[in-house]
Symmetry: C2
Subunit: 450 residues, 2 copies
């Protein structure tokens, strides 16, 4: 084998510019605005969802931590500028402006793991237009993907009713999206992931033992189980559905003894199979051996297994494709701007007036309003700045101040926040059936005391 | 602004290891197989689709070029090994094996842009088990994502009937998936992309001019149009649906003159709006000004505009989400293996025997069988090695030989191949309605002369 040196994967900081993960038109808008003298006008862009995916009762904000890292790396180096000028995307004076670009504005937003509803001002970017417009594509890519995954994942976690979930969808999505999907699933409450890069980069616990190919590689199933047990110990999970499930379970317990960690079933009627395997394991004295079920599970499939003796679920395709809603459909819209580049010029609300795609002008904030029992009853979105009432929970937090990231936090904090946000929602929020958003969004000019 | 040095984006070669874009269980299987002495057994893994997404008539292979790059970068450097050992994923002796890992086997596969059908042996990886099993997750991630996008994109290109398509979906998918999606769409026949990194990395033409925010930034629509025309010239595309489409079109032609490049309509009933705008442009003398329509288009929306005077379509969400099929659902299954590590030991077919997930054992090849008119009539898949008939087109090509990539080609070659492969399919293949695969897949032991 030839050994060619290869650099290791970058650390958490990306180590390279993210500035070209951007749409062409952000750059042409910048150039035209620089020329017309409007690029310096202070502007407010807002990220929100016009609606939730059909039938969903809440959404989950995810990707905020990743986004903050990527905004820090959003600079135009020589190679980016060479590309942009040589291809005629921007002219020389715009390129000079880009060479000095670093986001200098403020970003507020719903912290990661928080729930959102239609019209929730999930992220608010305030900066001179030229600085803020450039971030549109990156902001949306990260939040749309990660929020779609977390929103689906959260429903699966609810459906599992406390049983642990293993994320194993990397193979069914883009190789980098798989890493982000594992992270989003963890925020939403998944226990582990199969994705090693997600383990390395984010510290998420990783899991996995063997596939059918491993059994097929060996001279017999017994040979494969022996090999796995010798290497991974009796606590491992043996895959028992390559040939005949009952025979495999008997062989597994015979070889591993009653302290075998788990068996995995990946095909067939999982409820029926889990029931039979449980009875067989018990009859063989392996009462503590767990049953892991996998194979095209989504939240509905998980819920259907509630009465089955499954101890853990593995979820792949449905997780990484957002279980029918692969994008959160968040948009990034300018909602206010100044009339001049004067930094003290007042902001005035703006909004497109077109059919079918409503936007509401004005810089917004929002609270989650709770009733006397501490249950959420409304998402109150306001263009005013008044303090909230005693049972209102202010939702946006500062993420970037004057270009400096201030919203960094451990991933565990997002995970805990999501669990807490869910507990606060009315019980209907957790229904898997199609429905309306769990709480209404109320738009007011000022947040008033309840 | 603080200027912090930042490295530019890597060149086409990734510059870092892709080895952790992998599932945990690939590594535990390797370790157990090393221990039991089976890791060196020659094995053949096959990538195939059990079925096409519901109603689809063909699939499009994409991502091959990206995959070959990533396999070259699949090595375990110090940081990867430190992670794997410190977290207990593998033991020291496995880590030593990994430190020397470089894929040494052979890979054959359908070249990029080729069409595929259920059971087509899209990729065949032949190597010692330990080397081949490690590639599973990466192979599937790349091919599943890119093929899903290209398969949807191809239908959109057909629906557009020769009118150019602009890919603009980056914001609705993971930031790195967006780059790959632009590439896959280009393979399938899209004309341009909004994604600048796709332009830089793959040389795909990029396009874009302005969004509603640009109009809202200015003191008036007239002010915005003036600003854009001064910067980008009369050949630019003006967005005309921020306020009132008719007024905007009049302003646009008044300011730009009859040689205005294009106007873009992003909302409302696109067919009705395009008809009115065409009539208005013509009445104003702007007969060569094109009309670009965007806004939640998919292949069906594009087809519905066939009679409308639209000159180009922009497609975002539907493209990057595979228009209802966000993953190609390809699997990577071991189909044959040797009984010993002896490199000359014969391969014997293997297959899981379970309900619901059929696999066919044996190393396979395939031809597309054409009728006397040169129209494809069957996908013939064989476990034999016989030469094909005179009207059979052999599908797999060598991609990697003895660990060296031999299947590198320009992206244009894939794009041309896809167009040619489509022309060869029966006309029913191009129907957008739900249907069966355009040609049947026939499994035989040997490819026989027609």
């Amino acid at each position: 084998m030839v050994h060619t040196p290869v650099r290791s994967l970058p650390l958490v900081d990306l180590g390279y510019s993210t500035a070209l993960l951007t749409d062409h038109y952000e750059l042409t808008m910048l150039q035209a605005a620089l020329r017309s003298g409007t690029a310096g006008r202070r502007a407010v862009f807002e990220v929100f969802a016009r609606r939730l995916p059909a039938g969903r009762r809440y959404g989950v904000v995810a990707g905020v931590g990743r986004l903050l890292e990527m905004i820090e790396q959003f600079r135009f180096g020589e190679r980016e500028l060479e590309f942009l000028t040589s291809r005629g995307v921007v002219d020389e004076s715009t390129a000079q402006w880009l060479a000095g670009y670093r986001f200098s504005g403020d970003i507020h937003g719903y912290p990661e793991g928080e729930c959102y509803f239609p019209g929730s001002p999930i992220l608010t970017v305030e900066a001179p237009f030229g600085e803020a417009v450039l971030l549109e594509t990156l902001v949306l890519s990260v939040l749309n993907h990660d929020s779609a995954i977390a929103s689906a994942a959260s429903r699966m976690v609810n459906a599992a009713g406390g049983r642990p979930l293993i994320e194993m969808g990397s193979r069914r999505t883009h190789e980098a999206a798989g890493v982000a999907a594992a992270r989003a699933a963890y925020v939403a409450g998944f226990a582990t992931t199969s994705n090693l890069e997600a383990g390395r980069r984010y510290g998420i616990p990783t899991a996995g033992t063997s596939a059918h190919a491993f059994t097929l590689l060996h001279d017999s199933e017994r040979h494969a189980f022996q090999s796995q047990l010798e290497s991974l110990g009796e606590g491992t999970t043996l895959l028992v559905d390559t040939y005949d499930v009952e025979r495999a379970v008997r062989t597994a317990v015979e070889l591993a003894g009653p302290r075998l960690g788990a068996v995995r079933i990946d095909s067939g009627d999982l409820a029926v199979a889990a029931g039979r395997v449980r009875a067989l394991l018990d009859s063989l004295g392996a009462r503590d051996t767990r049953i892991v079920v996998t194979g095209d599970l989504d939240e509905h499939g998980i819920a259907a297994l509630a009465a089955a003796p499954a101890d853990a679920y593995g979820v792949g395709t449905a997780l990484v494709t957002g279980s029918g809603a692969p994008t959160a459909a968040l948009v990034y819209k300018m909602v206010a701007r100044a009339d001049s580049p004067d930094p003290d010029a007042p902001l005035r609300p703006v909004a497109k007036r077109s059919v079918g795609k409503p936007t509401r002008g004005g810089r917004k904030t929002a609270v989650r309003r709770l009733d006397a029992h501490g249950v959420a009853c409304a998402e109150v979105v306001s263009t005013g700045e008044l303090p909230a009432g005693p049972r209102d929970r202010l939702l946006p937090v500062p993420l970037v101040r004057g270009g400096e990231v201030v919203g960094r936090e451990p991933l565990e904090a997002a995970r805990e926040r999501h669990a807490a946000a869910l507990r606060e929602l009315p019980a209907t929020a957790l229904q898997l059936s199609d429905g309306e958003p769990a709480i209404p969004t109320e738009f007011i000019d000022e947040i008033v005391f309840p």
